[in-house]
Symmetry: C2
Subunit: 532 residues, 2 copies
């Protein structure tokens, strides 16, 4: 049924593409019929492959600081321990691995977690159903994925309301079209019009049907994780899935220092199937972790080491990420706050700890607390996103569309954010030092007191020289007035409508589509709706 | 007349304060009567001393790239040359220094500029009339200064109109009150209601009368620069001014590769009086420099080396900064664009070149092209400001209030920007690794599955733990609705009105004030108004 059934070769072929620096993929992407159509019809045009950073990483901690936090995390693991709740299998696995298990509290002898993590790959490929869209997770790669989790949307009429499956599909379509969005994400919004126990089927189907970028699995129950894996087997073939990563899955620690039954259940399904878990302490500093950066880093490291090494107990070699979701809280109101300096410092530090642990790193995105895509939202998002790139983040969830502390997926903000992702991608290319770029001849040609607007070098290079924003207004004040004194949200709204109109679904093998639909129908018919 | 007349000791005392890490200054600032009054009356409260960065610098170029650009700049200086226009004295000085002068074009033998720059101080103090507000320029210091140059304002009624001296005074007052604004700046807006040939007198007086932070001098004509120095002598004493820096002065190169009569005239006055010149190529890449980052960096370096070394011909040892104003242009419309990746790369690279040249570095700020303080303005400003901090910039002009490509000083944007400066300042403190901050006892006390909200460690640390924004809304959606669904500009508008109401002028010695007023009256009476 799947073109991935002869997966061994297919897999190596895709690896080769990715190892070749994404260049092959880039050329093909530029030539893609979908991209051409989209561009002609008012869409965004060419797709950019995942980022290979050619700029240095920014690090805030020195060797002494890193060693200190690692030593403290080791003490937390050994002396305080981490709870694995309501999961006898997990506790048994830990006991057999040599941990000291007291009730549900697991105490880890020094070095146990790190020894277990030696089997986890530092770099791997997450495959997309379109090989051109496969992404590298780890190393010098940065992959942007959309917002995850909001029950609400702010729609194109400016209304804040519960999200539907139509919204979900729209965000999948937008992520498919956005040139610097390398991933389709997971719960781009929560489609609350579908029964809780069936919703995952429509969500996974939407990612497959309306996009060809890689995506994330359901983690709300072990059986839903199983369904996700089954659907991937229909698309990629059973053997291929067992031998390759086709799913990234968000496993949040229930901080402080707890992994609960739901998350452990999903983690076990995915790790057993060789799919990637993103072990992510969900931290609002001052509530789920100490009110200080150093204390928060210590707890994050302990939680990730415990959770990530657990996946290696399930299946050695299963891909796993060091995740960090860092925000702080307002000490006046208790509300979460985003884009402030302390969470940035946490994430910068966590990225360093992840590299030392040999794991790909997830953090950041375009986080904000604002209710609307105003300057507050932008400042908070920019502070988070700049950090995300410079920290050397490998997988950046929430890179576009996040609003109101993650309660809302916003169409307008998605468009504004995805423009910023394009800027980050250009930034990551660093400084070209080729002879052409050095431009000595241009400087000589133009000389003192003239200008470069018409010179040969400018003519030859201007098309690719600067990132061009589709949303920023740089016209004269008078022109801006004539055009109605629009705010950027209004331009984002218009562009979003254009994109959704211009959207064209990527091809999907009809046999695969039928297989998926049959699977979904069978599952849905087998159980009554549940909304809790 | 001045309390600086016995300047030798006073000077050393101030240096000592600054060398002590700004801590002494911080303590006194916190205890200041003005700050207490301001805080009680709805003002911003305590002032923060200039930033001493405790985080690493971010560098985009390696040794090979830096050497390449330096070698190219040397070739530009020698083979192409820089024009010093309409200034026979300048050409004569260059001739005597060993340069090859052809017409107005100066060709510099390899190494000449760098040899001359050996007398320029890598770090110096700019003195404020209040010693607590003196700032270090260079080294690990970052100093934020407000927007410079706009002829228009966007006022608190949302109207865009020509700026007046009242606006000028308002921005001086706001910069005086903003806790992380370390400098009063220069032309915070252009007071077009005052005659061109007299305006500088009122501007300099406003900086002295309505603030006690350091400020910038007039550069629009040599005689206005002379007036600025004279007024400083009244405030600081003649000897003190001759031996210390009390003025920073913006000397723009007329890129590409020209210094004009006006700028040279002002530069000569200031350098001769031992005051600091900020030699700043004003670059819109693609127009005033090559369309590439590497080419732009080459030209910037050549221009700065020529301009900065010229100040050392005037007076060896006079303080001078390596300045860079970097933006790019839209290749569609020719309009300047801000906050895009390429100017950030230019500034990161220029910062490295400045450090290698042994000069303090100026760049960045909160630049944007947007007409209003919306998400475009914020994204562009944030991209520029994040770079400004991480590049290790020493002096950041345009840090607050810049709107519409520098045509407009905006009250609302000033307030939003100054909040971000506070975030940068907190970020610059880096990660505290003290035992208290490590928080191991807190992690032990709280343990798995609980929370940190009430624990002893949180109680002891929460007040200083997180940067608290006076403008960000982090309340619930419902609360935000009840409060009128305000955008951040509206909150900024309200806070700005509060500040201006709560403003109280710092003390100024009545004798000095009389001296200044007499000087200004004398000057104004001696010439008719000119508006050109």
């Amino acid at each position: 049924m799947s073109r991935f059934d002869d997966s061994g070769e297919g897999s190596e072929h895709m690896e080769a593409d990715i190892e070749a620096g994404g260049q092959a993929s880039k050329r093909r992407a530029r030539g893609g019929a979908t991209a051409r159509r989209a561009s002609r019809d008012g869409g965004p045009g060419l797709q950019r492959p995942f980022i290979r950073r050619r700029i240095p990483i920014y690090e805030v901690l020195d060797e002494e600081g890193l060693s200190l936090i690692e030593a403290n995390a080791d003490r937390v693991l050994e002396e305080i321990g981490i709870e694995f709740r309501d999961d006898a299998e997990a506790l048994e696995l830990w006991r057999n691995a040599g941990a000291d298990v007291k009730g549900e509290r697991v105490h880890f002898p020094k070095g146990l977690c790190r020894t277990l993590l030696e089997t986890a790959p530092p770099v791997f490929t997450q495959h997309a159903r379109n090989p051109e869209r496969s992404v590298q997770i780890g190393g010098d790669a940065t992959v942007f994925a959309p917002v995850y989790g909001p029950p609400f949307v702010r729609d194109l009429e400016g209304k804040r309301r519960y999200a539907t499956i139509e919204d979900f599909q729209n965000f999948v379509k937008l992520a498919y079209m956005a040139p610097s969005m390398h991933h389709s994400g997971g719960t781009v919004c929560e489609p609350v019009d579908i029964a809780v126990n069936k919703r995952h089927l429509d969500m996974i189907y939407s990612h497959i049907r309306y996009s060809d970028k890689p995506f994330m699995g359901s983690v709300t129950a072990p059986e839903r994780a199983e369904d996700t894996v089954e659907m991937c087997k229909i698309v990629f073939g059973e053997d291929f899935v067992d031998r390759n990563c086709v799913l990234l899955n968000l496993i949040n620690a229930n901080s402080p220092m707890v992994f609960d039954e739901t998350m452990l259940g999903a983690a076990k399904v995915y790790a057993r199937n060789n799919q990637a878990c993103v072990i992510s302490p969900f931290i609002l500093s001052g509530a789920m972790s100490p009110v200080t950066v150093a204390g928060t880093l210590t707890q994050i490291l302990a939680e990730v080491l415990a959770g990530a090494s657990f996946t290696q107990l399930i299946r050695p070699g299963a891909p796993v990420l060091f995740g960090t979701f860092a925000a702080s809280i307002s000490m006046q109101s208790g509300a979460p706050t985003f884009g402030t300096p302390e969470p940035s410092l946490v994430s910068y530090g966590a990225a360093q700890l992840a590299r030392r642990a040999g794991l790909p790193f997830r953090t950041g995105g375009s986080l904000c607390g604002s209710k609307i895509p105003d300057a507050q939202a932008a400042h908070e998002s920019a502070a988070t996103l700049n950090m995300t790139l410079l920290a050397g983040t490998n997988f950046a969830l929430h890179s576009a569309g996040w609003l109101e502390g993650g309660l809302v997926s916003s169409y307008e903000k998605f468009m504004i954010d995805q423009d910023q992702l394009g800027m980050m991608q250009k930034m990551a290319e660093g400084i070209d030092l080729s002879e052409e770029s050095q431009a000595l001849d241009a400087i000589r040609e133009v000389g003192p007191g003239s200008h470069y607007l018409g010179c040969a070098h400018t003519q030859a290079n201007f098309k690719t020289a600067f990132y061009t924003s589709p949303l920023a207004d740089n016209n004269s004040f008078e022109q801006w007035q004539i055009e109605g004194e629009k705010r950027i949200e209004q331009r984002a709204n218009e562009l979003c409508r254009h994109w959704l109109e211009a959207y064209q679904a990527p091809d999907l093998d009809p046999g695969i589509d039928e297989g998926l639909q049959a699977f979904i129908s069978g599952k849905k018919e087998a159980m009554p709706d549940s909304f809790t």
